[in-house]
């Protein structure tokens, strides 16, 4: 069964995270630079809010992997991205109905390995 991981992390963690999840067996990742906020509405500890929200830069990683690898990959992400502070990020795990490799038309698990 295929699953998709969408995670939002601190930009300075990117390099370490990429290396580690490739090690964990992930074959492909898409990355985008995004801005967003969470429960803190983007304000850092001690900061006095002068508006409703503040958008902070984050990196969004997307990858589709076999469900058997989810545990290992999410553990790796958590271990590497934890800062002990607010704003460390979030991981979402989504079900994927199907995948198709365009070049070969392979589908399902074959499309991602």
């Amino acid at each position: 069964m295929l699953k998709k991981i969408e995670c939002f992390i601190q930009p300075f963690k990117l390099d370490a995270v990429m290396d580690a999840i490739i090690e964990a067996g992930v074959e492909g990742i898409s990355m985008s630079e995004v801005k967003g906020f969470g429960r803190q509405r983007g304000f850092l500890k001690g900061e006095v809010p002068n508006k409703l929200v503040k958008l902070l830069p984050k990196v969004k990683l997307e990858m589709v992997i076999d469900e058997e690898k989810i545990e290992e990959v999410t553990k790796t992400l958590v271990k590497l991205c934890q800062t002990g502070e607010f704003g460390a990020g979030k991981i979402f795990v989504l079900p994927v109905e199907d995948a198709i490799r365009i070049r070969t038309q392979e589908s399902g698990i074959s499309a991602i390995v």
Binding site: D98, Q105, G108, S110
Partner: protein
């Protein structure tokens, strides 16, 4: 069709597998014996007013992993030994694909082609009535096999339901869709077979856009496999059935061929291909050979001539043990029957689940779920084959038998 001593052959194969698994003597004895064997006499009033007695069997080989599951065969060559062997093979097949069923099989000694529809209906109803206490959604779930079809399954469901006083769709699978049959049941075996072929390409690292496919048999399994592979862009270069064989290196369109045959024509008369002898079909150079006809087609005498890279056994038992040896020596990759054609029993399982839930899935959902199960089973068998350095057939049997043996050990012996 009946193989001489099929039961003995099946037992001998099982003994070899159990030896490799180093099971205890007690468990070995347990797995060799069918749990329940039922033999019934089926008296039927024939159309001409006479009374005939038919003999029917139902064998439940093992029910440790769940209710028995297996087809009912109407054929003049049915005998108890064959039914016992087929029931045992069902046990391993369900275990290999990891669906929660045991193995069973049934049969009636009758040539259905010589009887009227009414006579077959009366045989079916009386046969089911005789075994009614031994079947049921939680005990043993029949399905179609040689000589039986969805119409017969509908009669079985009706007979059982009348006996119980309410509708029980989960008692049988392979029903018409309007009575609780599953979407995608018709081509499930072929689809499962194709998923196994695609997984094989992956592990063998064959990256070829257009595979050359040869299919023996143009019945349900063969014709649907041809259509699915054709839709994926592969080339069906040869097809055969009982009437003879066709070859066309440019590819045969299975849809057109299907239409041609449905007009009552013989496959061998199809104009858009050259004709060859049916038995020559195995000698054609190709990427994938799909035997989808009867048992014992690839034998010691023709195995050496096979030039395929992959053999996907759509039929049950198409390869004899001596042929197996030759194919393995020639490094031909075999996807064994208990894995390759398990798509049928898998969608039967889906039909049973849907019937019990009274909630039905769409075709796409069925096919995706089937693919998940088939791929998982394939990689389980392939991993076992690589780790233990054995051939795929032995790996599949080892996996099936060990899963059942584990269930037996865990449940223990009652009382």
């Amino acid at each position: 069709m009946a193989v001489e001593n099929m039961w003995e052959i099946t037992l001998a194969r099982l003994d070899k597998i159990m030896e490799m698994l180093s099971l205890s003597e007690g468990i070995k004895k347990y797995l060799r014996e069918p749990r329940k064997t039922i033999e019934v006499a089926i008296p039927v009033k024939m159309d001409d007013g006479s009374i005939e007695i038919f003999k029917g069997y139902r064998v439940q080989h093992n029910t440790n992993r769940g209710p028995g599951k297996g087809g009912i065969r109407y054929h003049q060559d049915v005998n108890l030994d064959e039914v016992k062997a087929l029931a045992m093979l069902m046990t391993w097949k369900c275990a290999v694909v990891g669906i929660p069923f045991g193995g069973a099989k049934g049969g009636v000694i009758v040539d259905p082609t010589r009887l009227s529809s009414g006579e077959i209906e009366r045989i079916t109803r009386r046969y089911i009535y005789e075994i009614i206490d031994n079947i049921g959604p939680e005990k043993d779930i029949p399905a179609p096999d040689v000589g039986t079809n969805s119409k017969v399954m509908a009669w079985i469901m009706d007979t059982y339901s009348m006996g119980k006083g309410y509708s029980v769709p989960g008692v049988v699978t392979g029903k018409p869709i309007s009575l609780g049959g599953s979407q995608g049941r018709e081509d499930a075996t072929s689809r499962g077979c194709v998923y196994s072929i695609l997984s094989t390409l992956k592990v063998l690292k064959i990256e070829k856009h257009t595979l050359d496919i040869v299919i023996q048999g143009f019945g349900n399994v063969g014709s649907n496999a041809a259509k699915i592979l054709f839709d994926l862009g592969h080339k069906i270069i040869a097809i055969s059935d009982v009437t003879g064989g066709l070859i066309n290196k440019k590819g045969i369109n299975p849809y057109k061929l299907g239409e041609y045959i449905s007009k009552g024509e013989m496959l061998s008369g199809y104009p858009e291909a050259d004709h060859i002898e049916g038995s020559k079909i195995f000698e054609i150079e190709c990427d994938v050979l799909v035997p989808a006809a009867l048992e014992n087609q690839i034998t010691g005498s023709n195995a050496a001539k096979i030039k395929a890279k992959i053999i996907a056994e759509g039929a049950n038992g198409p390869t004899t043990p001596d042929a197996d040896k030759i194919l393995n020596e020639n490094k031909i990759f075999i996807i064994p029957d208990i894995l390759c054609n398990a798509g049928g029993v898998t969608v039967s399982y889906f039909e049973w689940v849907q019937g019990n839930l009274a909630y039905f899935w769409g075709k796409r959902e069925v096919n995706l779920k089937l693919r998940d199960i088939m791929e998982k089973a394939f990689y389980d068998v392939y991993d076992c084959c690589v780790v233990k350095k054995i051939d795929m057939r032995t790996a599949a049997s080892i996996l099936g038998v060990s899963r059942v043996a584990e269930a037996v050990v865990l449940r223990g012996i009652y009382p």
